[in-house]
Amino acid sequence: MAIISTAGLSRTFATKRGPVEAVRGIDLTVREGEILGFLGPNGAGKTTTLRMLTTLLTPTGGAATVAGHDLATDPAGVRAACGYVAQSGGVDTQITVREELVTQGRLYRLSKARAAERAGELARDLGLTGLLDRKCGALSGGQRRRLDIAMALTHRPRVLFLDEPTTGLDPGSRADLWDLVRRLRDEHGTTVFLTTHYLDEADALSDRLVVADRGVIAAEGTPGALKLEYGGSLDASLQDTFLAITGRSAAPADAAPVAV
């Protein structure tokens, strides 16, 4: 069953130098309980797509439903069904982990007692229990990411959007985060929609990949199917597959270095 479906979803920004078509028409279906890797070069429109699907940005064209709620007519329903972790996270470095988690619970309209309880549950689930009274600014990169995700899970969303969740993390923290994402799906059936630039991560974690390029979807399928179709064989690296899809080679033959 489709939990996210979009048709011609697009967004044009008006800038001083004329309109910029960041997303030119995304047609996408995500099944419930799927881990979807959303790939694409910088500027492909990944973050803009995520910000539209989480109601932060109004689309200038097309339509989408998330967990059965229409983006245009029922943004409140979409907000209630999805959690979002931006690239930058979103916690105040000056306040404690506990205060952020409790306030987040209150923003989701939990009672004071319930919000405090939920903060404890989330801390236990995400290994933050010993850090509750620490300031957010004093957490390590991996701990901080787990906090960002805990905040987004406050209301047990059916869909979790993660924008480059492992950028800047050490290998150990990355592996922990992969386990966490798999656990969310396996234990709670959460659909996870994540963007990443790490192809090994996309390969290891995703059930299905969607590659965006220049504001449209260039290819989609399981990692294996994409390798076979674009990389030439199942043994092709995802790196080569990705470059073949986006039409950008790592070192174009005719490109002489401008300066060395």
Partner: protein, 249 residues
């Protein structure tokens, strides 16, 4: 829900202000310096009004406190935009209007507190004014803070960088202060300057508070000041609400 959410946002940002005692007191520093080092220069000058020079100066300093303090309120939201806090809150069901009102009411509380400190210092310096007049002065500071902070947050949501925000606010606040006669009554100046200053909304506010400080409550100044303050607040909160409802969109 709006009340619940506004209370929640208000609490979060008030705790933020209380954590920084320095920031809590810093805002009162500039008007306090004027009070200490500029106020005594005026005591024997003919300022044209009734009452002492303190009854002319302190209302101006109160509004100066609100003008400079609240205009820069938007800086905090630029920082929070960088940290992703604003967007993180905007994907929750929280009322968009509460995100503005909670912050603005926090600002009114902080500047109200600073206004009380300023008046206490002025009492030591020699100010004598009727209590109802002083309370009316605080009400005007609160309205001015609410309106300017709303506009400041709205601007900060639009420009998004401190490099654009700071100079814009400076360019707006300095002429506003000079043209509204916060330091000295505009009636002392040439007619063209007096006329020009009537284009400044804050001129009406300071005239009203000066009347209040000499115990004249049923005057044309008071009526105009109240009308301008209420209308300006309504306009500013409307602009702020519109920006917060559509921000990012």
């Amino acid at each position: 829900m709006l009340l619940h959410d506004t209370g929640l946002i208000y609490g979060r940002y008030l705790r933020q202000s209380l954590r920084s005692r320095f920031a809590l007191l810093f805002g009162v520093l500039m008007p306090l310096l004027y009070l200490l080092f500029f106020g005594p220069l005026l005591t024997d000058l003919p300022l044209g009004g009734r009452g002492s020079s303190w009854q002319v100066l302190v209302p101006g300093l109160l509004l100066q406190l609100g003008l400079f303090g609240a205009s820069f309120a938007g800086f905090s939201i630029i920082i929070e935009n960088g940290q992703g806090v604003v967007e993180r809150m905007r994907v929750t069901p929280v009322s968009r209007l509460a995100l503005l009102l909670g912050r603005v009411l926090r600002d009114a509380t902080v500047f109200g507190f600073q206004a009380v400190l300023l008046v206490l210092a002025a009492l030591v310096m020699g100010l004598r004014a009727p209590l109802p007049g002083v309370l009316i002065g605080f009400a005007f500071v609160a309205l001015l803070t609410v309106s300017l902070a709303s506009l400041s947050y709205a601007l900060a949501m639009k420009v998004r960088t401190p490099q654009e925000f700071g100079p814009t606010i400076n360019a707006l606040t300095m002429p506003s202060m000079l043209l509204s006669g916060l330091m000295l009554p505009m009636t002392l100046g040439p007619a063209w300057l007096d006329v020009l200053s009537h284009l400044m909304p804050f001129r009406y506010l300071v005239d009203a508070v000066r009347d209040a400080y000499v115990g004249s409550y049923a005057t044309a100044h008071m009526l105009h000041g109240t009308l301008v303050a209420v209308a300006f607040t309504a306009l500013a909160v409307t602009v702020g609400t519109r920006v917060f409802r559509t921000a990012g969109a």
